[in-house]
């Protein structure tokens, strides 16, 4: 009896404390409100509604019909293309993710070692592909299957290949070509955030380091630069995870759609196929749901690993 009353009292107090704290910080909520209103209507609600659609049969004309796990059974047991898409997405993410992340950081740091004007020039050059974006026509020309095509003619002249290769239609090369173009565009948001972070590091740290006997730029990098870049490194990691797992557009525009033997078919391409071409929304949402779960898992692992080493 008494115990119950006491816990009730504590509950009540906690509630009052929460209310008081909320009132005290009322102006802060107001400050965050405009963003969160727009976020709620245009991001949160669409996402929250889309997730359960994965458990329905929805053709966009009739009201969605609940089908439980049936979409997922089909995906894993009857849809061979989906299994190819998983494999491609994983290969793609495992190769481009870590490499592009290391490139983002390493190149951003190397640029920072250059004198002022060169910093701007190199940052500009490296970020330019992300700005230029959709120049797939040019890449198609570079990868042209003709013996006189730019890539073919160079490789033939160097004696590396005997005859012309069909880079974008031969299933042996498609994924590699897509990966190359992805790498070319991979110095994106993460790279720029790290560049901006490097600009903000307090120079006093380097002075103190010099006094404490740091001799070369690698020691500076490990003992001063990296530890003070935690938040930016985490940002870049999340950005590279999303861009490497959600890639699909490049393959779709670069090669034919669907690509030969589905060699460039990723989960996003699969979702696009069902969502925007066949209008089987339930199935498309199921694919996205699966991708979301995979990304959530990878993200949590990376986040744990990083917060163990860095102050993020």
């Amino acid at each position: 009896m008494f115990g119950k009353e006491k816990s009730q009292y504590i509950e009540d107090n906690k509630f009052r404390y929460t209310m008081r704290e909320m009132k005290k910080n009322g102006s802060a909520y107001v400050l965050a409100l405009p963003y969160f209103l727009l976020f709620l209507f245009f991001t949160a609600i669409p996402v929250v509604i889309s997730l359960p659609v994965g458990f329905t049969n929805f053709n966009m004309a009739q009201f969605p019909k609940w089908t439980g796990l049936s979409n997922f059974y089909t995906l894993f047991l009857a849809d061979d293309v989906f299994l190819i898409a998983i494999q491609n997405t994983l290969v793609f993410a495992i190769i481009t993710g870590p490499i592009s992340y290391i490139m983002c950081f390493l190149l951003a740091w190397l640029i920072n070692e250059m004198p002022g004007p060169l910093k701007t020039v190199f940052t500009y050059i490296f970020y330019a592909p992300t700005l230029a974006g959709n120049i797939y026509a040019t890449w198609q020309l570079i990868f042209s299957g003709d013996a006189q095509g730019p890539l073919n003619s160079i490789l033939i002249n160097l004696g590396l290949i005997k005859g012309p290769q069909q880079w974008l239609t031969d299933s042996r090369y498609i994924l590699t070509c897509v990966i190359i173009v992805q790498m070319w565009m991979s110095l994106g948001a993460g790279f720029l955030a790290i560049r901006a972070g490097l600009q903000g590091i307090d120079k006093a740290g380097y002075e103190a380091g010099a006094i404490e006997g740091i001799k070369n730029r690698f020691q500076e990098l490990i003992y001063i630069t990296v530890p003070s870049m935690g938040p930016q490194l985490l940002f870049a990691a999340v950005m590279q995870i999303t861009s490497s797992f959600t890639a699909g557009d490049i393959g779709r525009y670069l090669t034919a759609f669907p690509s030969t033997d589905y060699a460039a078919h990723t989960l996003m391409t699969h979702a696009f196929d069902y969502g925007s071409i066949r209008f089987e929304m339930g199935y498309a949402c199921a694919v996205c749901f699966f991708l979301f779960i995979v990304m959530l898992f990878v993200n949590n692992v990376i986040r744990k690993a990083m917060s163990g080493i860095l102050d993020t």
Binding site: S27, V47, Y127, F292
Partner: protein, 286 residues
């Protein structure tokens, strides 16, 4: 202090600098080549455009492709200037709104301790991972219910509150020392003032970078599905229509690509040199 001056700003030898420079130069060539090639293709006359193997230079540069592009654009129902206005208007609104709203919310998420803030942080972190191609249908329904379809609101509102913009600002603001904010609080400054007069000037590289992301994203808004009036369409969708209109216009498709990439590139050049400048100034405090 003198010790530092002698070994330049930071550690490392002259020889190392040169090696880094050469490495960056090589990567830079790989980065720039496809862009250079696109520009070259856009100023080639037709007979050079279909020459095989394609030349990496132009013999007789011409603006013919750009003129053709304008000719096609001029033949549309709505004057071309209207499309330009739409894109510029939408991009400016989205960029400014994103800067204002994301920064304000990021300050709260990074620096205010109050009930619910932790949950908001978690939500944003999860939302970052959901870049989906299937939410457009629900987005459409939401906007239709609010009566926003086929208005400028449909071109701007959905693109303002991006989780990425908020996350970027929050990560940078988290590095501002707590003492700085406590001091301002003791002086009686409100959250609004602390955010905009104390925190923001200290994360200038971050919001200059945010502006680049925001503009870049906004410039690509096509309004596909959300607007159907010709008067509301922005440039990218018109360019797609022009570029898709046949092989005879191969040069035109290169011209549209070049025209589309120019505005974000120019803005980036202005903002990025400012990012570097910020650093030069803070480096001066000896």
């Amino acid at each position: 202090m003198r010790l530092i001056k002698k070994r330049r700003m930071w550690g490392g030898s002259r020889g190392g600098d040169i090696m880094i420079f050469i490495l960056l130069l090589l990567v830079g060539v790989f980065m720039l080549f496809p862009i250079y090639f696109s520009i070259i293709q856009s100023i080639k006359p037709v007979e050079e455009l279909f020459l095989f193997p394609p030349k990496m230079y132009v013999q007789r540069p011409t603006m013919q492709s750009f003129e053709d592009m304008l000719k096609v654009a001029g033949g549309m129902d709505v004057p071309f200037s209207r499309y330009v206005f739409n894109s510029v208007f939408v991009s400016v609104v989205v960029t400014v709104a994103q800067l204002l709203l994301s920064s304000s919310a990021a300050y709260v998420l990074a620096k205010v301790k109050a009930p619910g803030i932790r949950a908001m942080n978690k939500i944003i972190e999860v939302a970052l991972l959901f870049t989906s191609s299937v939410t457009y249908i629900v987005q459409y329904i939401v906007m239709a219910k609010m009566g926003l379809i086929d208005t400028y609101f449909a071109l701007t509102l959905p693109y303002i509150a991006t989780p990425m913009g908020l996350f970027l600002m929050r990560q940078f603001m988290g590095q501002i020392p707590e003492s700085m904010i406590e001091a301002a609080k003791l002086d009686g400054a409100s959250h609004l003032r602390i955010c905009w007069q104390i925190v923001m000037p200290n994360v200038k590289p971050a919001w200059l970078t945010l502006m680049i992301f925001a503009f870049q994203g906004a410039w690509q808004i096509t309004g596909y599905l959300f607007v159907y009036s010709e008067q509301l369409k922005p440039i990218p969708i018109v360019m797609q229509q022009i570029a898709a209109s046949g092989l005879a216009r191969a040069g035109v498709s290169y011209a549209t690509v070049v025209v589309l990439m120019l505005p974000p590139m120019i803005l980036f050049l202005i903002l990025q040199s400012n990012v570097v400048e910020t650093m030069a100034h803070s480096g001066l405090k000896d």
